[in-house]
């Protein structure tokens, strides 16, 4: 196997003036070198740092790296566009601005007793899965095998097939295990094209793995935002208008995730106006990152709501209850199920702790409690397919070409099949991760794996169960549809039971083959997920240090399949959100547009030392309208409300309004100064 290294632009905006590959080509161990013109993934113009210019494959990674360093590139540096507001002014946008309006926004403002406005900012964040993007490409005749760390093997198949003009099934994509994605690994990306082309030219398998530094530049990111938002309400808290202008720094590409989504969907409000811009800048392009848009948008919206509550002298939880949406806020459709009110009810005792928490404040450490709500998609959808094979030993094999990105998808699918077949979990095996060894399965993104795949597996298991029971009914001379499977046995209503193997044993080499497809989502209904988080913080008003002491989370995602895994998703989401809130930020050189935080000591992920007490609860009520399973996804919901809940707790503790992420000590101290200033000016002079 050969190893690849890539020469990338060190500049945010530049053009190749001259390129000398001669020394690299002659370097020891080099087997293939690609330059612009050889492959679409290489370019002579770099519109962002990290743009690939040359790729080298050599016998060892060290040799590839050494050869890459011998590539001589003469760059002509060009002026980078880095300011998102300037990009909007100049019309440098990815796509058209997205405008949304319902009701009469101006009228809503005019009717209000209180109007609050604020500008919130969020930073650029890197996914930093522990395993960087990587693949091995190997040609076999006219077909290509791609071993890859991905969230979507079918997406990779289609991307790579298109890049090489192959019929899709000539590309086989394999991903048995992978080290995290969080949205960064939803498709193939240029690095796979490079590996495949190097493999084609060298006639050898080629491995291309991004280094951590490459990952922190080009691995995808959650785009930064500037959000100018307004909320207006009557004295009783009824929202009369919500509005916002959202500027998203997408970089050179990507897409405009819905930052306005929470404002449009979370609370009932008749008059809403939003406009979103995707600023096209000379920076690496964004990629989906765990609830893209909604994480950023919820931060602003839920902080703004607390500001409004303060203005109106209302309890923040009560304000949210008074604006509870009973039908979809955008088109009036009923929800397939919505347990947000129940979430509020369960959050109540945790919210009530604020009196006791505040009372524990002293002169330096101020304590407070904040909450925020969450809304997100997560209903999944068709198409997705699964096969279930039952052999003569009564064991089941679930086959589907999906991937397990670490969320425990295999386990959940095994649980679903075991339940339907009435057999023990250990008797079910799940085979995933190979596009040529199973039917199409959904992407592991958008909290859609379980709600998309689970119903398909359940349908396949039910199909197999039905076939087993038909044989049993014939053999034991029972009426059609009277027998069922339970506890590894075939059960008759009169109490007679037979071991399952008594029927499957008849099969010898025969097999029961069940197949299942994901059905449609309920027509005319809106399928969404909901939740509430309550944060307790302590703020050192002298140093600006914030300690998150406790987070309570309650989420409504329909039926929960694997409670242990579900809690792990919630905890993981919350900790990632705490990273977003306090320590993580991609910092770019403000003039050159190059990434300064390329390593994990500069880009600070949360560690075990940062973990607060986390209490999680799940409503766990099946969504009766949704599929044969009643489950929604939980990958994204927990990361959505945390930052706002923490900021609201900081406000509760200190009166300080933090408006930009990450919340640094500097930011806290500045917000505290402002709060003191407000008090001084607002207070009547003696």
């Amino acid at each position: 196997m050969l190893h690849a290294a890539v020469v990338r632009s060190p500049h945010a905006h530049a053009r190749v003036r001259a390129l000398d590959l001669s020394r690299a080509r002659e370097a020891p161990g080099v087997r293939a070198v690609l330059a612009p013109g050889d492959c679409d993934a290489l370019d002579e113009t770099a519109e962002f740092e990290g743009r690939a210019v040359v790729a080298v494959a050599a016998e060892t990674f060290g040799q590839a790296r050494a050869a890459a360093e011998l590539v001589e590139v003469e760059w002509e540096e060009l002026e980078p566009l880095l300011d998102p507001e300037e990009a909007v002014r100049r019309g440098s946008l990815v796509g058209e601005p997205r405008r949304y309006e319902r009701g009469g926004y101006e009228r809503g403002l005019a009717e209000a007793d209180a109007v609050v406005e604020a500008e919130y900012r969020t930073q650029t964040l890197n996914h930093n899965p522990l395993e960087t993007h990587q693949c091995v490409c190997e040609w076999r005749g006219d077909g290509l095998d791609v071993y890859i760390s991905t969230q979507y093997i079918w997406g990779v198949r289609d991307d790579v097939a298109a890049a090489f003009g192959l019929p899709p099934d000539k590309v086989r994509v394999i991903c048995e295990y992978m080290g995290g994605g969080f949205g960064a690994k939803n498709g193939a990306g240029g690095y796979v094209t490079l590996a495949a082309e190097l493999a084609r030219r060298s006639g050898r398998p080629v491995r291309l793995a991004l280094t951590r530094r490459e990952e922190n530049v080009g691995g995808g990111n959650r785009n930064a935002t500037i959000q100018r938002v307004t909320a207006a309400a009557k004295a009783d808290g009824t929202l009369t208008a919500l509005g916002g202008e959202f500027i998203c720094s997408l970089g050179w590409g990507g897409w405009l995730a819905s930052t306005a989504g929470p404002m449009q969907l979370l609370h009932a409000c008749e008059n809403v106006r939003t406009v979103e811009y995707g600023a096209k800048l000379n920076l690496p392009a964004m990629a989906a990152f765990r609830a893209p848009g909604f994480v950023e948008g919820t931060w602003a919206l839920e902080c703004l709501l607390d500001k409004l509550a303060a203005e109106l002298g209302l309890d923040p939880l009560e304000l949210r209850r008074r604006n509870y949406a009973n039908v979809d806020t955008m088109d009036g459709r009923p929800y397939s199920a919505k347990e947000l009110l129940e979430c509020y009810r369960r959050a109540e005792p945790h919210w009530e702790r604020r009196h006791e928490v505040r009372a524990r404040s002293d002169a330096t450490w101020k304590r407070g409690v904040g909450l925020a709500s969450q809304i997100w998609y997560g209903g999944g959808g068709p198409p997705s397919y699964a096969w279930v094979r039952v052999g003569s030993d009564g064991r089941a094999n679930v086959v589907t070409a999906m991937q397990d990105i670490g969320t425990g998808t295999r386990t959940a699918m095994a649980q679903i099949a075991a339940e339907e077949l009435g057999i023990r979990l250990e008797r079910v095996q799940v085979q995933v991760g190979d596009s040529s060894r199973g039917p199409f399965a959904s992407i592991s993104g958008g909290s859609s794996t379980l709600p998309s795949m689970g119903p398909a597996v359940r349908a396949a298991a039910a199909d197999a169960a039905r076939q087993i029971l038909e044989i049993a009914e014939q053999r034991f001379e029972r009426e059609d549809g009277t027998l069922s499977l339970r506890g590894g046995e075939i059960v008759s209503p009169d109490g007679t039971t037979w071991p399952l193997e008594e029927i499957t044993g008849l099969l010898e080499d025969g097999q029961i083959l069940g197949k299942g497809a994901r059905g449609p989502n309920p027509a005319g209904m809106r399928v969404l997920t909901f939740g509430v988080q309550v944060a307790e913080v302590a703020v050192d008003v002298e140093t600006g240090e914030v300690v998150v002491e406790r987070i309570y989370a309650v989420h409504d995602v329909g039926r929960v399949i694997n409670p242990l895994g579900a809690r792990s998703q919630i905890e993981g989401g919350i900790i990632q959100a705490m990273g977003h809130t306090f320590s993580e930020a991609r910092l770019d050189d403000p003039h050159r547009g190059t990434v300064l935080t390329k390593t994990l000591d500069a880009y600070k992920l949360p560690t075990i030392a940062d973990v607060p007490e986390i209490v999680c609860e799940l409503i766990d009520k099946p969504d009766a309208q949704l599929t044969n399973l009643g489950s929604k996804g939980l990958g994204e919901p927990p990361i959505i409300p945390t930052a706002a809940a923490i900021a609201n707790a900081i406000r509760d503790a200190t009166g300080a309004d933090v408006t930009s992420l990450p919340i640094t000590r500097e930011e806290i101290l500045a917000a505290l100064r402002e709060a003191r200033e407000r008090e001084r000016v607002g207070a009547p002079s003696a």
């Binding site: 060290g62 930093n128 951590r212 242990l564 919350i574 990632q576 994990l600 075990i608 973990v611």
Partner: protein, 150 residues
């Protein structure tokens, strides 16, 4: 250059370049991919191994420095079907999502418990704060360490 070392109780030899890390030698030359490479500069702990009984980041140790020494990797702790008690505790507690950080955390936990069989919460925080996990949120890792300490 040639190095000779003991890996997981076995005498091994490898031909390495002077600048090569122990992690690289383990993964690419000795066929032991259990130790993971997530940063190559001592920031993530995914490559944790025991070198003469001391917990180290294999990416920060030159393969040449391990010449004549004793290395234990995650592969040396348990076998398929016979996991180490710490590995069992990780499974039992559900302290794994994608699993990329897990080998490093298992080795670091083995080391922690060797020094402190009943670690306090603060000791756990201190001992494992060099092992990054992007998925689990660490709560279940606490559970696993407590379970293994029983």
């Amino acid at each position: 250059m040639k190095i000779e070392l003991t890996v997981n109780g076995e005498q091994r030899e490898a031909d390495v370049w002077e600048g090569e890390s122990l992690l690289f030698a383990l993964r690419e030359k000795l066929g032991l991919p259990g130790s993971k490479n997530a940063c190559e500069q001592g920031e993530c702990g995914s490559c944790s191994v025991l070198l003469d009984g001391t917990l180290v980041c294999a990416c920060l140790v030159l393969a040449a420095q391990a010449d004549g020494h004793d290395v234990v990797t995650v592969e040396g702790l348990g076998a398929t079907g016979e996991p180490h008690p710490v590995q069992e505790a990780f499974v039992e507690a559900g302290a794994v999502q994608c699993g990329f950080c897990t080998p490093g955390l298992v080795v670091a936990t083995v080391d922690l418990l060797a020094h402190s069989p009943q670690p306090s919460e603060d000791e756990i925080r201190e001992a494992l704060s060099g092992n990054l996990c992007r998925c689990t949120g660490y709560a279940k890792i606490f559970d696993a360490v407590r379970l293994a300490a029983q």
